[in-house]
Point group: C2
Chain length 374, copies 2
Amino acid sequence: MKADLLVTPQQFVWEETFELRSGDQLEGFELIYETYGELNASASNAVLICHALSGNHHAAGRHAADDTKPGWWDSAIGPGKPIDTNRFYVVSLNNLGGCHGSSGPLSTNPVTGNPYGPSFPTVTVSDWVRSQALLADHLGVETFAAIIGGSLGGMQVLQWSIDFPQRVAHAVVIAAAPKLSAQNIAFNEIARHAITSDPEFQDGNYRTQNTNPDHGLGIARMIGHVTYLSANGMGTKFGRELKSGDITSATDVEFQVESYLQYQGANFAKTFDANTYIRMTHALDYFDPAQDNNDNLAATLAKATAQFLVISFSSDWRFSPARSAEIVDGLVEAKKNVVSACIESEHGHDSFLLPIERYFEVLGGYLKRVGAEK
Amino acid sequence: MKADLLVTPQQFVWEETFELRSGDQLEGFELIYETYGELNASASNAVLICHALSGNHHAAGRHAADDTKPGWWDSAIGPGKPIDTNRFYVVSLNNLGGCHGSSGPLSTNPVTGNPYGPSFPTVTVSDWVRSQALLADHLGVETFAAIIGGSLGGMQVLQWSIDFPQRVAHAVVIAAAPKLSAQNIAFNEIARHAITSDPEFQDGNYRTQNTNPDHGLGIARMIGHVTYLSANGMGTKFGRELKSGDITSATDVEFQVESYLQYQGANFAKTFDANTYIRMTHALDYFDPAQDNNDNLAATLAKATAQFLVISFSSDWRFSPARSAEIVDGLVEAKKNVVSACIESEHGHDSFLLPIERYFEVLGGYLKRVGAEK
C-alpha cells in the first residue's frame, strides 16, 4: 500500500513579473507541489488542495518508503479515501511566501542575488489564488472538479470561486470564515509580536545573523494550539493532571498540558520560518473579499458559479459554526447551490485535520457525486 | 467628594514564621492594605476585598487629591456605591507575593538581607487566606460581614468560606470557577513561557542584572487582554478597522486592535513584576479546593456556613457562567444558602471590573441586606 503513495515533489517556475495586491511585485517565482492520482484525458478530474497557516505541499503519501510520517492530510487523500485518488488527480502546493520550497523569505531574490528574508513582500489570499491558477495552466487544468481547503485554505477556496468562477466546479470550504474577527486578528498579532520582539528575530534578518527566534515562534505555536483546541477537548486530553506529583517550588513544567505545549512550541520553531509565519498570518488578517463590495458578502459571491459544500465543527471557537453560517447565508442570499454540515466534535478548530467519521462521510459522500454528474 | 475618598496605604507586619502550603516558609511578612469607611463598635461591618491576578490593595479612592485615577474598583466601593462605605468598613490588601508593597519577589529576604527575586516561594490561595486572617486579627475583625472578590479574588472568597467558615457571614464570588480548566492553565503557561523565555528575564534575576523582561510581560498581558474580552465585545470595540488605510508592506501596526494590545502590553511591563506574575498565575493554576475531597466540591463546601452570592457574566469565556454554575451546584448539593445571577454583558471576563448597571443592582441589592438582618 505504501508504494501506491510514494510521491516526489515537483517545481513550477514562473519567469514573468507577478504583480501583488500590495503593489509590490515578484520578478518570477517558484512553487513546489505534489500530485496524487492521474489526470484523465479530458483533464476534468483535478482537485486542488489549499493549505492552512502552517501547512505545505506535502499533503499525502510518503517521500520515501521508510518515512515515519505521511503528508499532513494523508487520512483524507488516497485510494478509496474521501478525496479518492483512484478517481481524482489531486494537486497540493506550498503557497507563495511559504518556507517549504516555494518562493518565500528563505528563497533568493533573483534581482539582488541575496535571500529575501524580511524583504519578501506581503502576500494575500488573492495573490495565492492567481499563482495557483498559473500552476493549473501549467498542469493543463482549465477547471478543477473541486477545490478544497480548511481554515486559511477554505478562504482560498472562497477566493477561487469569486476570482475564477469558471475554473472551479465544486468549492469545499471547511472551518473557515468570510473574514477574521477582531479576536482572531488579536491572537495573530500576539503571535507576531512574540516573534518580532524575540531579540533573535533581528528585524527578520536572523538567517544572515545566524540566529533564530525560537522562543517567539514557540510562543506563537503555543497560542495557536490552545486556540485551535476546544476547552472541553483540552480537558479531556489533559485534564488537570500534574506531571510530577504535587505543588513544589513551581520552577518547572508541572501540568501535562504545559509539557505538551512546550514540546509543540519547540518543535515548530525547528521546522517553520518566522518571516513566513508573519506573512501567513497577515494573509489571514487581510482576507475580506466583501470589503470591496461595501461588506456585502452576497453581492461578492454573486459571480461564483461553483457548487458549494461548507463544513464547520461544533466546538471550533476560532472559526465557529456561526462564521461558516455567514458564508452559507451569503451563498443562499446570492442564490447559489450550497449544502452545509456542522460536525459534532470536541476537537475545536483542529477537527478539520482529523479523520472524524461523520466529517469524512460528508466530505467523501459529497465528492462521490463530483464528476459523476457528467 | 474627592476628599471623602483620600486614602493612605498602611502596613501590617507579621514577625513570626509563616508556613506555606508548598512546604516552604517565610520568616515573617508584610502586607500593604487600605481601608475605606469606619469599623463599628461591634466590629461587625467589615468587608474584605480580594484582588485578582494583576490587582493590588488600592481598590478605591485616591492617594492624593490630584491623582488622575482612583483605585481599580472605585466604581463599586465608596459612599452610596454598591459596597457602601457609609455602612461598611472595607479592607483591601495586596496579596503575599505581590509587587505593590506586600512581601514578594521585590522585597528583601530578612534571612539573607538580599532581595527575594525568583527565590520568593510559591504562594497559594489558601496561604493568602491565612495571611488575610492574620491581618483581620490585627484589625480586630473576628468575622467579616462579607468577603468579596472577582476571578482569582472569587477563589479566595471560596477558600475563606471553607477554611474559616465562622469568620465570613456572606461570601460574594464573582466570575470565578471551582478550579481552572486545562485551557486556562494553558493560557497561563504561555504567558509564563513568554516571560521566562525573554532573555532579559535572567532566570528571574532581572533586578540584579538591571534588565526587565518587558517583551515577555507585554505578551503575557496581551494574551490576558484577548482572553478577558469576548469575541463580540472585541468586534464592537475594534471591528476590523485598519489603522492606516490599506494593506501596505505589513511591517507595522495596522489594525486598531493591534495598536491597543501593544499599548496595553508595554504599559503593563512598566508597572508589574514578572516574578509576581508567575506566582499569581501559579496560584490560579493550583487552586482546586475539592482536590483533597476526591474532587467532591459539595463535600468540600460542607464546612461553609456563609451565605453565598455567585455572579457570572454571559460573555465570559475564560470563567464562563457554566463554571460559576458548578460552584452553585456544589453549594446547593451541600444545602447551603446561595443566590446567583448571570449578568448579560458583552465585555467578557473584564465585566467583573466594570460598572454594569444590572451587575451593580444585584451586588448592591444583596449587600443592602447584609448586616440589616441583625
